[in-house]
């Protein structure tokens, strides 16, 4: 059990989305927001900011930023959908870039493919204009019980 997960769970139960972002300094630094879509799934949004650029010639969003946004989305999505008060710990993260991220809002949603006793597998998709044209897809493994 962790102080962090207790704070997170209380904010989740109250649906205090922006306070959840404020709980994670790096998420706040990026300017990420979260909410729920029409089906009640978590939707992550990263509004465009000039400091997100990683290629000034195209211009395009920085690939590392896209990775950070998706990794953060996977972590929040997993914590949101768990009752445990242990903070999941990322083991590895794999990211495929499918097209350049334009200087506009980036969206992401996650799916927990499998949640075992010790490990969870999370898929993440990011898009801009339409989910049918993903900017990047990623998957992450998290350890669920780390205090042993």
């Amino acid at each position: 059990m962790s102080e962090f997960m207790q704070a997170f769970s209380a904010l989740r139960d109250a649906r205090r989305y922006s306070d959840i972002i404020n709980l994670l300094p790096y998420a706040r630094f990026m300017g990420a927001t979260l909410g729920e879509d029409a089906e009640g799934s978590l939707l992550f949004t990263l509004p465009y900011h000039p400091r997100h650029v990683g290629n000034t010639a195209l211009p395009a969003l920085h690939g590392g930023l896209i990775g950070g946004f998706l990794e953060n989305a996977a972590l929040i999505h997993l914590m949101w959908n768990r009752d445990s008060l242990e903070t999941p710990k990322i083991v590895d993260f794999s990211l495929d870039y499918l097209r350049p991220g334009r200087p506009q809002t980036l969206f992401a949603r996650c799916t927990i493919t499998r949640q075992g006793k010790r490990v969870a597998h999370v898929l993440i998709e990011a898009w801009q204009d339409s989910p049918e044209n993903p900017v990047a897809v990623a998957r992450a493994h998290f350890l669920l019980a780390t205090n042993q």
Binding site: P25, L58, G63, G68, F69, K89, F93
Partner: protein, 156 residues
């Protein structure tokens, strides 16, 4: 330290990569290139880059940006002439938690420069590459755009 297949090109591309808006926002810096054309970059710990406020550990996303930028710089160290490159995929293994309050270094190398694709590996650490925090592998598409990555600096 300098070097690379084309030292002038590496100098201008390494300067470009750490001066991109997002690199500046994170405070990435380029430290140099060794005789084996391995490059080292650094990111300092900062409160606003933390992932878990209770532990103070830096967010994995910062490591992703550090590995991506370091790996691109490692590709630049193998290039003879300027060309645009774009990350195709990236995988990070988080070997152990970074320590709060300490700078993270990333040493990256491009171990294979094929005609269309460049292959890289990178290791992140506090003190020495022998005691790593994270390991990253990436691939880059070469000549990903007819446009140079920056209007002036990358043309050489």
């Amino acid at each position: 330290m300098s070097g690379g297949a084309n030292p002038g090109l590496l100098e201008s591309l390494s300067r470009l990569f750490v001066s991109l808006p997002h690199s500046l926002a994170l405070g990435l810096s380029y430290l140099g290139c060794d005789a084996e054309r391995r490059v080292t970059l650094r990111v300092d710990w900062r409160e606003d880059l933390v992932g878990n406020p209770v532990t103070g550990v830096i967010h994995g996303g910062v490591i992703t940006s550090l590995v991506d930028t370091s790996s691109a710089t490692a590709v630049a160290a193998q290039l003879d002439r300027a060309e645009a490159i774009a990350t195709l995929d990236l995988r990070i293994d988080y070997l152990k938690a970074a320590q709060p309050g300490r700078a993270i270094f990333c040493r990256a190398e491009c171990y294979r420069l094929a005609h269309q694709v460049a292959f890289t590996r990178a290791v992140c650490f506090h003190d020495t590459p022998d005691d790593p925090i994270a390991h990253g592998v990436a691939t880059f598409m070469r000549e990903s755009s007819p446009m140079p990555m920056s209007g002036e600096e990358a043309v050489r």
